[in-house]
Amino acid sequence: MINKQNLFKIIIALVLVLGVSLMQHTPSAVADVPLQGDTSNVIHIDVTYDPITRTFSAGGFTSEELKQFGVPDLPENIWAILGVFDNLSLKIIGNEIQLLTDEKPLFSMAFDENARAFVYDMVSVYVQSGKIDRERAEKWLDKADFDITLRKSKELSEPLQIKLATMLQVKIDENGALSVEGVPTGMGITPETAALLQAANIENAKICWNKGVVNGEVNGSVLPQMTIYEDGVIVLDSALGLNLGDLGPIFESSFGAGLVYADGAEVVGECLP
């Protein structure tokens, strides 16, 4: 009887210990994309051109691939200008614009508030869709690290580098017309899709791409994190005959978009690589 009592005591003790240990169990969770301190908008585009064959390569894409993407041929006057230089580089870093030719500075100017205001006014005159959104433009330029390099060379250009912390603001109006950063694109969604979005009460969405990792939110609700591997896209490309070309630059890039439908609230926050 005493043995049985001891057995019950041991069982109860075990139950208590295991119960407490289970209660202290920490649920596992999906690892977030590690946040880094660098929140600049980096765009580095390398362009190589050959004035003799009148071909050019940009962002690691060949002339043929660029044509497939719908990039037009350069006009003759542009080729005439390019023929003069061996190397041309335009940099916008923070509050400064630099133009370098053959590695020598051609000009450099402060791109401060006054200079930006002047540029906005100039652009607004030429943009038929109305004045540009200064607040959005400032958001982009405040963190700008833009660099376009043009090199006279027959070799393939270096892969595109895009790391955008600021999200592109994409708006779809009630009629389905799509605009990016306030600029109409001429594209839109079908009335059926618009009706579906309306019926589903979808107001906005946030999509962030970071080197193959996709994070998304719809109406502020977080969706599962998707990781797309380059091998997977190559398989799809081959199976469906998509002819996507070199995917390296895309899988090295980070960017995101905030989509707003009709009168939905603007998507806030950033896509941090």
């Binding site: 295991l18 240990s21 289970l22 589903a200 998707m226 398989v235 469906l240």
Partner: protein, 140 residues
């Protein structure tokens, strides 16, 4: 103390001890037998399978929060979820589903109001306490 109570207590203790060992081992997902499925020719999925080097795609669900699509040793796509993000996705899918699916679901929930809580409980149980892993091997 009655014999029934003693048996119940001992059974409970054994279950807890076993689960304790399983917990200490890091709660690995319990593997279930893989299901093989031949995709008929003419379907888009068939073309995707034949485009892989191994001529097969393995879709693995680990209820600890991971859904993967692999071909041989190459990862194609992976989805990491939590019970919350999974619930959000199901809700979105229902809302975007064609026809009367969403309203039918709402009517079903009105009739069985316990259903969302039950679904959430099952989801949490297999995510937090007893994860399992199941694979579907897709063949041409």
């Amino acid at each position: 103390m009655s014999r029934t109570l003693r048996v119940t207590l001992i059974t409970l203790a054994v279950i807890l001890i076993l689960y304790g060992v399983y917990y200490v081992m890091g709660r690995p997902a319990i593997p279930l037998p893989a299901i093989r499925y031949h995709v008929p020719a003419g379907q888009p999925l068939h073309n995707i399978i034949t485009a892989t080097e191994s001529d097969q795609i393995r879709v693995t669900l680990n209820t600890k929060g991971k859904l993967e699509m692999l071909s041989a040793d190459n990862k194609l796509v992976a989805l990491d979820y939590t019970p919350q993000t999974l619930a959000n996705t199901v809700d979105l899918a229902l809302r975007l589903s064609p026809g009367q699916t969403y309203s039918s679901y709402q009517q079903f929930v009105e009739r069985f109001p316990v259903y969302p809580a039950l679904a959430n409980y099952v989801n949490q149980f297999f995510y937090q306490f007893l994860p399992f892993r199941i694979s579907v091997i897709l063949l041409p």
